[in-house]
Subunit: 585 residues, 2 copies
């Protein structure tokens, strides 16, 4: 990284360079005085190098640096010398620069927060001054990781014959799915482009065009109300293949995932298990189970219903999990768990526990309704041993599953079973094709309207839509969905039937997706694909909960860029050219 | 590329596979009958393989394929056999498949144009059915080339320490420069995001953030009236470096260019010449000269003015070029050249020629104004030899330069001097910082408002703006600008002065670029960069005039996607949510 302004970076000098004359550039991380010496930690992207100034031998230089402050940009020349007290924590810790010349390249105001791993800046302040936040090692390293991940993915995909093809950003609006961001047309007032929510239809057209294997790392856009970890613009690794079955896709992308872990984390992934959607819901109450720990759901309807306990008798599902070794939980701890499931985010009305005590006795919160013998059957069915705690919830099936899923994850956290740095990767397969929406009283595509029903279910598409499964699959790492895809419809008639089931008139379907259905008339091959969330993949690989930490310039929860202060008003001239109403004053 | 549906692709079988049982998938390129045999050319991304059907031994199969047509998608199984009449033009030409099983994967209507290198489809038809156009080898190979170029660039940039960082697409509108595409905000009615014309300010912020070396291959947007070879969305290779001088940037990207030529074209580039903007204008009348041929401009004011010819006497510039060996051009040929420069696209009023005849005599269109001796001086000054033709134009300096530049390129074409496959690469350096616009009576930034004046010109920024040069540079290949950049301002005060010269009030500058100027207050390093047009780079490397041929789904000159029919009206519900006026009926 030698340039005309420097001979070395702040990360590369070590004992081998002693006595060399060098020139460095960087930011002042820290200044400290120690007896007759002044030391500056000089920082750049590559590391930190200590600069030394001797007050006795170099009073002029020391005078000059007196007014320097944190984050000033300087260039220094001097001699690499061995350090008296070495710092084993950094690669340059054996040496320091005895400075002979110094020049200020730019001064700096005192930054509004400290540029340290643990900064004193709040979220909003750091977003407003994102260019300073990005100087912090943690954030910088996230973006360096993201870059390396991108390089690894592109090289692997290229290696196995996938072609990266850019698809357009100014496309047409398709009301199905999330809300579109739109772009008014200047040349055709009243008309709009939309920003793509994904290149889905384009990658299918590329299959129709014969590209056989396509991928793209590409920005996508959704104008949705933001949850804490959603962004209006996000990046997708978008992939599609022709002349394949689901098995080909799962194998191909297992290869990618293994390569990614090997290259970026030096972890060998041997096994990616597969679980059906139905089993995932049954055993984990979730289509994205965190399988780093077992703690599977056990249905207890057969044991606990038809006794005296009305809550269980009225429930569609009675279901439990076993917390190993937790039989000695105190009243306080058990209350905490009850309060946890009663929080509005979980929304349960209560929690039943059974403590399998060391003496073979069972103690439960429903002792008055059940005999010891009943609880023994429960324990046996749950495979609970002495010393274990059984936690039971009940209610409408899906609701109870969801609530117990939350409790299971909470117990995983409490018991340290969700270990950072441990990765459990799953394919969840055989998703239902459709899901019913009570509010609008229609079916929606579970994945998207281009997903094919399983061939053996095609016949019941109209007669029993809810029973139709798809060759659709999600890739789940540690309880986070990082990718999903499906085998697509490649036949115009089947696509028409699908749109009909989704409540589209022929005319609407033709208007919105006519170009795709037309393409199907000219020899579209069987095809399918997958898309991974790139931001999410970064955060999961780095054990972070937040995708924002892996985006250089993210937006806040109100979809606002705090640094740019975007969106803003635009000029009346611009509005006029676009045929839009002018600003009110 | 083996999948569950095929054992091989249509491009990989050869004599080594004879007697193997194989399964192929693909599109029917051609069906022909020859005596008792029927042959099908089966095509996929990887090539073409001949399928053979024997009417005598396999009447059932032959019956089945009778209804097949072009572009049907089929899968066939059979045995690889040696071909009787081999086709040396394709890698699979030694073999054919004796088919035993066949299945139709999808039928096809007769395509609206032929899927051949020379298609019978017009531009509009091919754009509407772009997915069929993309099946043609020429277009397909363009996109494969683009992919390989992208991979090469990313790997090289990564190798020399550049980090790819994604910058946002929903940014703020900045009226300086071209017109923005804007995106209405749903959460803040009356406010808009803009799509970036380039990540310029973001890459500068990334330098302020300390990333040292950044690049990105990224979509950019300009809502301009389209010329034949502009697209509203285009792709840029955007790069920036810190702690550098112009020399570092030129050297770094010479490395990239050499690597690109080596990797994608197998051409070793030894020399990238540098020419100042002033010299480029003087010698070629253009800031992007095609230097594959010499034919430099020669100023002739000193010889041809102050004689009898009023046109020359009144001109600011009299300037000529020498067309080697063209002294024997006929009257008709000379008239063609005169007509060429009189076309509205060139806009000259006339053309003067001097034929340096073999006998040492000069014949010119201005014989009545000049002596043979005058013409001899002209020839000498132009270094024209016997047999050469001198072509002379005159007028206002810039206009005459531009017109003679057009004529020079035309002569280059006529004389076959602009050879496809020959590459002449130039850096054009020392651009003026500003250019005056007569209409709005103000200076505009020649490159952009963040370009730094040359340090030695900083003092005259306000007193003589037109005389200020910048460390700004363009990379020109064969007369096409494929990249440009500059050393940037990194100091808030200088940036303020620049905005003032450009006619911004402090308030406007702060409103639009406050975030950048604020960043300069917190220790921005000296930095500079360059951006290459990726679409353009593809087309220049492949000797094509059209960037559209290298874009999967381009828009037409009215910024319309003919295939999608975008832009379109959107629903009243969408308009209402955005606070925009509803559709009129």
């Amino acid at each position: 990284m030698k340039t005309s302004l420097r001979t070395h970076t702040c990360g590369e000098l070590n004992a081998q360079h002693i006595n060399e004359k060098v020139t460095l550039c960087g930011w002042i991380q820290k200044i400290r005085k120690l007896g007759g010496m002044t030391f500056i930690d000089l920082r750049d992207r590559y590391g930190i190098t200590q600069l030394a100034f001797n007050n006795d031998t170099d009073p002029d230089l020391c005078k000059q640096i007196e007014r320097f402050g944190r984050e000033w940009v300087i260039t220094v020349s001097g001699t690499v010398t061995e350090r008296y007290s070495k710092n084993k924590n950094i690669p340059t810790g054996d040496i320091e620069i005895l400075v002979s010349e110094i020049e200020v390249l730019n001064e700096s105001l005192v930054p509004p927060f400290t540029i340290e791993d643990d900064s004193d800046g709040g979220d909003e302040l750091r977003m407003k001054y994102r260019y300073l936040d990005l100087r912090r090692n943690v954030v910088k390293n996230n973006l360096l990781f993201r870059h390396q991940l991108g390089i690894a993915i592109r090289n692997y995909m290229n290696h196995i014959g996938f072609v990266e093809i850019e698809t357009p950003f100014l496309v047409n609006s398709t009301p199905e799915g999330a809300r579109d961001f739109v772009v008014p047309s200047r040349l055709n007032h009243g008309e709009f482009y939309a920003l793509p929510q994904s290149p889905q239809t384009f990658k299918q057209l590329l299959m129709a065009a014969g590209f056989d294997r396509y991928f793209q790392i590409v920005k996508c856009f959704r104008d949705e109300d933001l949850r804490s970890d959603r962004q209006p613009e996000f990046t997708q690794i978008d992939c599609e293949m022709s002349f394949i079955s689901q098995e080909d896709i799962l194998n191909t992308f297992e290869g990618l995932i293994k390569y990614i872990f090997q290259t970026t984390k030096n972890i060998e992934i041997t096994d990616i298990e597969r679980i059906t959607y139905a089993d995932a819901m049954k055993f984990y109450g979730s289509d994205k189970p965190d399988a780093r720990f077992d703690m599977r759901f056990v249905e207890l309807n057969n044991v606990l219903q038809h006794k005296e306990f009305k809550v269980f008798n009225d429930a569609e599902l009675v279901v439990g999990i076993v917390a190993k070794g937790c039989a000695d939980y105190s009243r306080k701890q058990l209350d905490e768990l009850t309060n946890f499931v009663k929080r509005p985010q979980v929304g349960a009305t209560g929690l039943v526990y059974v403590q399998c005590q060391a003496d073979g006795h069972f103690k439960s919160s429903v002792d008055k309704f059940y005999e010891q013998a009943d609880l023994q059957v429960v324990a046996k069915q749950c495979d609970a041993k002495e010393g274990d705690l059984i936690l039971i919830m009940a209610g409408k099936k899906e609701k109870a599953q969801k609530q117990l899923c939350e409790l299971r994850l909470e117990m995983g956290n409490r018991l340290g079973l969700r270990k950072a740095g441990e990765y459990k990767i799953l394919w969840v397969i055989d998703f239902p094709l459709l899901e019913w929406d009570d509010e609008t009283e229609r079916f929606y595509a579970k994945h998207h309207p281009f997903t094919a029903p399983k061939p053996e279910h095609e016949a019941i598409l109209e007669s029993d839509p809810a029973a139709v499964n798809a060759n659709a699959y999600d890739l789940v790492i540690n309880g986070t969905e990082i990718g999903g895809g499906s085998i697509r419809i490649h036949n115009k008639e089947l696509q028409k039937r699908m749109f009909k089931v989704l409540g589209f008139s022929d005319e609407e379907a033709q208007k919105q997706f006519g170009f795709l259905m037309n393409a199907f008339q000219y020899g579209a091959p069987p095809h399918g694909g997958i898309a991974f969330g790139f931001d999410r993949m970064c955060s999961v690989l780095c054990n972070s909960d937040s995708i924002r930490d892996f985006i250089a310039f993210p937006k806040n929860n109100a979809a606002r860029d705090m640094m740019l202060n975007a969106p803003t008003r635009i000029s009346d001239l611009q509005l006029k050219e676009l045929g839009l109403p002018l600003n009110e004053n």
